[in-house]
Symmetry: C2
Subunit: 125 residues, 2 copies
């Protein structure tokens, strides 16, 4: 199961950086929840999850999984990655730690993201 979970994590980060949204949604179980950032109201189910990722769908963006950050224990994973979004001549970086729980088929059933304003930065492109 560990390798399967690692594959989903890598695919997730890649898809967040390039889409399409529907492929991200399909990594989640139908009844999954997304709490991003942690402490906010969780979004439940494919429709709510699709709506969440649609926000970044049309942005010029890229992601990078932080090397050696992936931790997997049973049906749980934690990892760090960076999402860089370009607006005009500015680049905005966000670097969360995400945790995920998986079902027996390797679908994500719960995602919670740890980050705040302090983990965002901007710089000229």
């Amino acid at each position: 199961m560990t390798q399967q979970i690692r594959d989903v994590v890598e695919q997730y980060v890649k898809l967040v950086g390039s889409g399409p949204t529907e492929d991200i949604v399909q990594l989640y179980a139908p009844d999954a929840t997304v709490e991003d950032p942690i402490g906010t109201e969780p979004r439940r189910g494919h429709d709510a999850i699709r709506e969440f990722y649609e926000v970044i769908a049309n942005l010029d963006r890229e992601t990078e999984l932080r090397p050696d950050s992936v931790r997997i224990a049973g049906k749980h994973a934690a990892f760090m990655f960076t999402l860089v979004t370009k607006f005009g001549d500015q680049r905005f970086s966000l670097a969360p730690i995400d945790v995920m729980e998986f079902d027996d088929s390797g679908k994500i059933v719960r995602m919670r993201a740890y980050w705040s304003q302090e983990d965002m930065s901007s710089a000229p492109d």
Copy 2:
């Protein structure tokens, strides 16, 4: 609250590296749970938590909080650190991602640690 949580995280990692055990226990609320690694039966309350940390109390060890890994969102924190334990002429490293939830007074109410055998390594001292 963010700075208070950051202080507790730094103190926690430092104390795991040096003790005393009782100071670690006092970072937790009386009814807190520790799930380390995640997926195992949580230990609940100060007595169970003390028993858990007592295991490393007499080992020759040190810890390092991974720079720039601390993520804080509301009453939640996630971070990476390394625990190095020395046995004879061998050093054993364990590098988990820990997540914590805090109460209003800044005590840890829940800790879950993400790691597996794959995140352990050994080397000559």
